[in-house]
C-alpha cells in the first residue's frame, strides 16, 4: 500500500510538471506576452517598447529558463537600471534591499509568484478562493450524493417498474441539461421578481412588502455574492448548489441503478427471498452494500468534473471562487495565477483518484493493491 501511494505521488508530480509546462508554454507565446505587456504597461506601446518592457520585467530569456525560475531551480532574473543603478528582480520585493533577496524563488521555495491581474501575490489569492469553492463543493456533494443514491437505489430495486421508469427519465434529463442552461432556468423561475414563480408570488402579495421573506421580492437570490462573506443562507446558496448537484446527480443515479439492478438479480438475493426475508431487509441489509461499490468510483470522479462545473456556476452566480479566478486568469493572460490553478487542478484530480482506488479495496476485498 505504501509503495502504491508513493508511486501515485510520483505520477502526480510528473503530471503536474507536464501540465504546468504546457500552460507555461501557451501563456508565454509572444502574442500573449505582448497582451500582458500592454495591459501592465501602456496600451499604446510600440513593438520596440513591448520588447524592452518584457526584457525589463523578466519575460525576455529563453522559455525553458523562465520555467526553471518559476519552478525555483534556476536563479531568478535580476535587472539593473542603467540610469539609476536600481536593481529589480523576480525575487526582490518592492522596497527590499537586493542584497537580502534570495537567489531562487519559485515553486520549490513555496513562492507561487505574482498575479498581474489582481496586483497581489498568487499565494494570497488562491487560498481564499479555493476555500470558497470548497464550501460550494461541499454543499453540492452533500445534496448530490444522498439524493443520487436514493434515486438510484429506488429505481434499481425493481427494474422496469413505473417508479424505475420515472426516476430514470428524471436522471437522464438532469444529466442532459448542462449547468449554463439549468442555472439560467432556475434564475428566471425562482429568482426574478417579474417572471416565474417569484413573480407570481409577488403578484399575489406573498412576497415583497410584508410577505414571508421581509421586503424581498424574490424567493431565491440569483447571485451568491452575499454567501461569500460567511452569510450562507438557504435562499442565497440553494440555486448554485442545486445547479451543480443536478448535473452530477443524474449520472451517479444511473450508475447506482445499474449496479443495484444487477445485484438484485444475484443468486444470494433470490435465496434470501426464498427464505422469506422481507423485501425491505433484502434491500437494506443484503443488496445495498454490494450495490454501492460501482457508484463510489463514479462519485470520486465527480470531483474533477465539478471543478469544471464551478467555472460556469461561479461566473453565473457571481461567486468569486476558484472557477471564477480561473476565468479571470485565463482571460487576462495572468501566467503565474494560471499555473497555480493548474497545479491545484492536477492535485484535486489525482488525490481523488487515489482515494477512490484505496476506498475500493475496503469496499471490495476481492481487489488487492500490489
Amino acid at each position: 500500500m505504501g509503495a502504491f501511494i508513493l508511486r501515485r505521488t510520483g505520477v502526480m508530480i510528473l503530471t503536474a510538471l507536464c501540465l504546468t509546462f504546457v500552460v507555461f508554454f501557451l501563456t508565454n507565446l509572444f502574442p500573449n506576452l505582448e497582451k500582458l505587456a500592454k495591459t501592465q504597461g501602456n496600451a499604446r506601446m510600440t513593438d520596440a517598447e513591448v520588447v524592452s518592457w518584457l526584457d525589463n520585467n523578466g519575460y525576455g530569456g529563453p522559455m525553458i529558463l523562465r520555467y526553471g525560475e518559476w519552478l525555483g531551480v534556476v536563479p531568478g532574473w535580476t535587472q539593473v537600471d542603467e540610469e539609476t543603478g536600481e536593481i529589480t528582480g523576480r525575487c526582490i520585493d518592492f522596497g527590499m534591499d537586493p542584497a537580502d533577496a534570495p537567489t531562487r524563488c519559485g515553486l520549490l521555495q513555496g513562492d507561487l509568484g505574482f498575479s498581474t491581474v489582481s496586483d497581489d501575490e498568487v499565494g494570497n489569492i488562491i487560498g481564499g478562493r479555493l476555500q470558497l469553492t470548497g464550501i460550494l463543493m461541499f454543499w453540492a456533494f452533500a445534496l448530490m450524493v444522498p439524493a443520487a443514491l436514493i434515486v438510484g437505489v429506488l429505481a434499481g430495486m425493481r427494474e422496469g417498474s413505473r417508479l424505475d421508469r420515472s426516476l430514470s427519465t428524471f436522471s437522464i434529463a438532469s444529466t442532459a441539461t448542462p449547468e449554463y442552461v439549468s442555472g439560467v432556468i432556475f434564475i428566471v423561475f425562482l429568482a426574478s421578481s417579474t417572471a416565474g414563480i417569484s413573480g407570481t408570488l409577488t403578484e399575489w402579495g406573498w412576497l415583497g412588502g410584508d410577505g414571508w421573506l421581509g421586503d424581498r421580492n424574490t424567493l431565491f437570490l440569483g447571485s451568491a455574492r452575499s454567501a461569500m462573506d460567511g452569510g450562507i443562507t438557504f435562499w442565497n446558496f440553494f440555486l448554485p448548489v442545486v445547479t451543480i448537484a443536478l448535473y452530477g446527480m443524474g449520472y451517479i443515479a444511473r450508475m447506482t441503478r445499474a449496479s443495484m439492478a444487477e445485484v438484485m438479480t444475484a443468486q444470494y438475493i433470490r435465496t434470501a427471498r426464498l427464505k422469506g426475508v422481507s423485501f425491505r431487509n433484502i434491500v437494506m441489509k443484503h443488496a445495498l452494500r454490494n450495490a454501492l461499490i460501482a457508484p463510489f468510483t463514479v462519485i470520486m470522479l465527480q470531483f474533477p468534473w465539478l471543478l469544471t462545473g464551478v467555472v460556469i456556476v461561479e461566473t453565473l452566480f457571481n461567486y468569486n471562487g476558484f472557477g471564477w479566478t480561473m476565468v479571470q486568469a485565463a482571460s487576462n493572460n495572468d501566467i503565474e495565477l494560471l499555473l497555480a490553478c493548474s497545479i491545484v487542478a492536477v492535485f484535486v484530480v489525482l488525490v481523488t483518484q487515489l482515494i477512490s482506488d484505496i476506498g475500493y479495496v475496503f469496499l471490495n476485498p476481492r481487489i488487492r493493491i500490489a
Binding site: K35, K38, T39, G41, N42, A43, R44, V117, S118, D119, D120, I187, A191, S192, S193, T194, R216, N217, T218, L221, G222, S223, R225, S226, N236, T315, N318, N320, Q328, S331, N332, N333
Partner: protein, 551 residues
C-alpha cells in the same frame, strides 16, 4: 464644521470682465445657461456670483445637494480595478474609490459649474494666462501634515511630467509643459505664500480648470507624487481603504483619528464588482447585492425602473466613435474613410445602439452643449455614392474587419454600422473582443469602436484624441492644419471668435472622414429610494463624501 457648499458662495470673485462678456452673450442668447456657468466658474467666479450676473436665482446653485442623515453603509455596483499612480488612471472607477481619501482641487458639478474642493477659490487674469489659486485653509493630510500650497505646486509639477509613461495629465496641462524637456516649464508654477499658488501659461489657455477637475488629477501628498495610493493611503479625505480585492470588491471606511475638513455622512462604502455584463448587474440588484449602480445601460434602464429603483438621467457629451485607424491600409485613403461615413445614417445608430437615448451627432466630436459648437455641413448619407467612392479607391473587395468590445451599447452600435456598411455593398466581418482584453490594444485596432466620456469644452477631447501623436489618438489622425487651428482655438477666450476656428476644425474632421461619431448619450443611474446625492454625473464621478441615506 462648515458646510463648504456655502463657503464657495462667499469666496471667489464676484465678477470678472470676461465673465461679464459671457453674461452679455448669454442674455443675447449666444450662450445657454449651462455653457455660461461652465465658462464663468472656470474663470474663478463662484456659482452664486455667476448666477447673479445673469439674474438667475443663486438658490439653484446652492440647493443641488441635500443633507443626508449621518451613518450607514452604502453598496455601489462598480468595477474594482487594480489601482496605480493617479496620473495614469484610465478609468473613472479607480478615481471613484480613491476619491474617498484623495480629493481634487476643483470639482465639476452635474449642472456644468465648477466648485472648489481643496481650493477655496481661483481667479484668472483678463487674457487667461495667469491663474491664482487660493488653497483651502484648515485641511490636513491623514498622516498629520497640513495641506499647503507646496502640495498643490508639487502636484502640478507631477502632472506636467510627460516623461512618466501613461501620464494623461500632461496633455491636460497644455502650455505648462515644456516641449523640449517634457516637464513643467521653468517658473510656470510658483508658490506665492503658504496658501497661494500662481500658474502662468505662455499663451492663453482656458482648459486649466476643467483639466484639474478631471479624474486623474487626484491630489497626492507632496512627497508621494507618482506612488500608488493603495500602498500608502495618505490623503485629505475622510475615508480609508479597508479592503481591496481586484475584480471582487473594495471597502472604504471612515478613518479613525483623522479630522476631515468638510461634512461627510456614511460610515462605510462598499464597491461591488459584478463584472461587465449588465444582466449580472440586474440579477445582483434583484438579489439585493447593492444599492446603487455606477451606470445603467441600454434596455436595463427600463428594467431597473420596472423594479422600482429611482432613475437619474443626465445629458452629456459622452459618445462612441467608430473610427478607422489611418496608420493601417486602406484607411490611409481619405476616399475610403469618406465612403464609410457616407454609408452610415447616424440616426440609425442612435435608434439601434442606445434605443434613441440621446441625440444625433455629426462625426466631428464637438457637442451642441459645448460653448464653441459650430453647425457645419456633414457628409451626405449616400450609400450608392459611398460604394462608388470605395470602388474609385480600388478597395471594393477589401474585407473590413470591424472590432468592438463585448458589451451592450457599444456592440449594438457597431453592429448597426456593420449592417449599414453591408447594405452599401461593403464586405464586412465583425469581431467582438471580451472586455478584459479589448483595452489592451484599443488605440491600434485598424477599425473599431471606442466610448469617450464627457468633456466640458469642445477643444478638450480634440486635444486628447485627434492631435497628432498624442497617446489617445486612436484614429491615427495627423494633420498639421488641424493641429495649428486647434492651438489657435485653445487660446481664444471668446466663444464666438473660437467658434469661427472651430467651424474650420469641424469641417476638417468631417471632410477627412476621421471617424463616425453617431450620437451623444444620455447617461443613467439607478439607486434605491431613500439614497441622497447619488445622481448621475456627466463624468461618472461619485463623491462618497456627499452620499448618504435620507434623513
Amino acid at each position: 464644521m462648515k458646510d463648504f457648499t456655502h463657503v464657495q458662495t462667499q469666496s471667489g470673485l464676484t465678477s470678472h470682465p470676461v465673465a461679464e462678456m459671457y453674461a452679455r452673450e448669454h442674455k443675447e442668447g449666444k450662450l445657454d445657461r449651462r455653457e455660461f456657468l461652465v465658462r464663468s466658474t472656470a474663470l474663478g467666479l463662484s456659482a452664486a456670483a455667476a448666477y447673479s450676473l445673469i439674474g438667475a436665482s443663486p438658490a439653484a446653485a446652492d440647493g443641488h445637494r441635500a443633507v443626508p442623515a449621518a451613518g450607514g453603509t452604502l453598496r455601489i455596483q462598480q468595477e474594482v480595478r487594480a489601482l496605480k499612480d493617479p496620473r495614469t488612471y484610465d478609468w473613472s472607477q479607480m478615481a471613484n474609490v480613491t476619491r474617498g481619501f484623495l480629493e481634487y482641487l476643483i470639482q465639476y458639478n452635474a449642472d456644468g459649474s465648477f466648485e472648489g474642493v481643496l481650493l477655496d477659490s481661483w481667479e484668472a487674469n483678463e487674457d487667461a494666462t495667469v491663474y491664482t489659486l487660493n488653497v483651502r485653509q484648515g485641511v490636513s493630510w491623514n498622516n498629520g501634515d497640513p495641506f499647503t500650497a507646496e502640495d498643490v505646486a508639487a502636484n502640478f509639477i507631477g502632472w506636467c511630467d510627460s516623461t512618466v509613461e501613461g501620464n494623461s495629465m500632461s496633455t491636460r496641462m497644455g502650455g505648462l509643459v515644456d516641449p523640449d524637456t517634457g516637464v513643467a516649464r521653468e517658473g510656470a508654477i510658483e508658490v506665492v505664500d503658504d496658501y497661494t499658488v500662481r500658474v502662468t501659461y505662455p499663451a492663453p489657455d482656458i482648459t486649466l480648470v476643467p483639466g484639474i477637475a478631471d479624474y486623474p488629477s487626484a491630489v497626492q501628498h507632496r512627497d508621494l507624487i507618482g506612488t500608488n495610493p493603495a500602498d500608502h493611503g495618505v490623503g485629505t479625505g475622510a475615508y480609508e481603504i479597508t479592503n481591496y480585492e481586484v475584480g471582487v470588491s473594495a471597502t472604504l471606511s471612515r478613518k479613525a483619528d483623522h479630522e476631515y475638513w468638510g461634512e461627510t455622512y456614511l460610515d462605510e462604502i462598499v464597491f461591488v464588482d459584478l463584472g461587465q455584463d449588465p444582466a449580472a448587474w440586474f440579477a445582483g440588484a434583484e438579489a439585493d447585492e447593492f444599492d446603487m449602480t455606477y451606470e445603467t445601460v441600454g434596455e436595463f434602464v427600463d428594467l431597473f425602473a420596472a423594479i422600482g429603483w429611482t432613475q437619474s438621467e443626465v445629458t452629456t457629451a459622452a459618445t462612441v466613435v467608430i473610427r478607422p485607424n489611418q496608420n493601417n491600409a486602406p484607411y490611409d485613403d481619405v476616399r475610403v474613410r469618406q465612403a464609410i461615413a457616407m454609408a452610415c445614417d447616424n440616426q440609425v445608430m442612435l435608434d439601434l445602439g442606445i434605443n434613441g437615448q440621446g441625440v444625433t451627432a455629426q462625426n466631428h466630436h464637438v457637442c451642441p452643449i459645448h460653448p464653441e459648437y459650430a453647425d457645419v455641413a456633414a457628409l451626405p448619407f449616400d450609400p450608392a455614392g459611398a460604394q462608388a467612392l470605395l470602388e474609385e479607391s480600388g478597395n471594393a473587395d477589401f474585407e473590413f474587419e470591424l472590432i468592438s468590445i463585448d458589451d451592450d451599447y457599444r456592440k449594438n452600435t457597431t453592429d448597426a454600422v456593420a449592417a449599414q456598411l453591408r447594405d452599401a455593398g461593403f464586405n464586412v466581418t465583425r469581431t467582438i473582443i471580451p472586455g478584459s482584453t479589448f483595452w489592451n490594444d484599443w488605440a491600434n485596432y485598424p477599425f473599431s469602436s471606442t466610448n469617450w466620456n464627457h468633456r466640458e469644452l469642445g477643444v478638450q477631447v480634440l486635444n486628447l484624441a485627434y492631435r497628432s501623436g498624442v497617446p489617445w489618438n486612436e484614429s491615427g489622425f495627423a494633420n498639421e492644419e488641424f493641429d495649428s487651428l486647434l492651438d489657435q482655438a485653445n487660446g481664444i477666450q471668446d466663444a464666438d471668435a473660437r467658434r469661427e476656428v472651430m467651424a474650420q476644425i469641424e469641417t476638417i474632421m468631417v471632410n477627412e472622414g476621421v471617424t463616425i461619431q453617431p450620437y451623444w448619450r444620455s447617461l443613467f443611474r439607478h439607486y434605491k429610494a431613500g439614497i441622497v446625492n447619488a445622481d448621475m454625473h456627466p463624468k461618472f464621478e461619485i463623491n462618497v463624501h456627499y452620499l448618504g441615506f435620507e434623513a
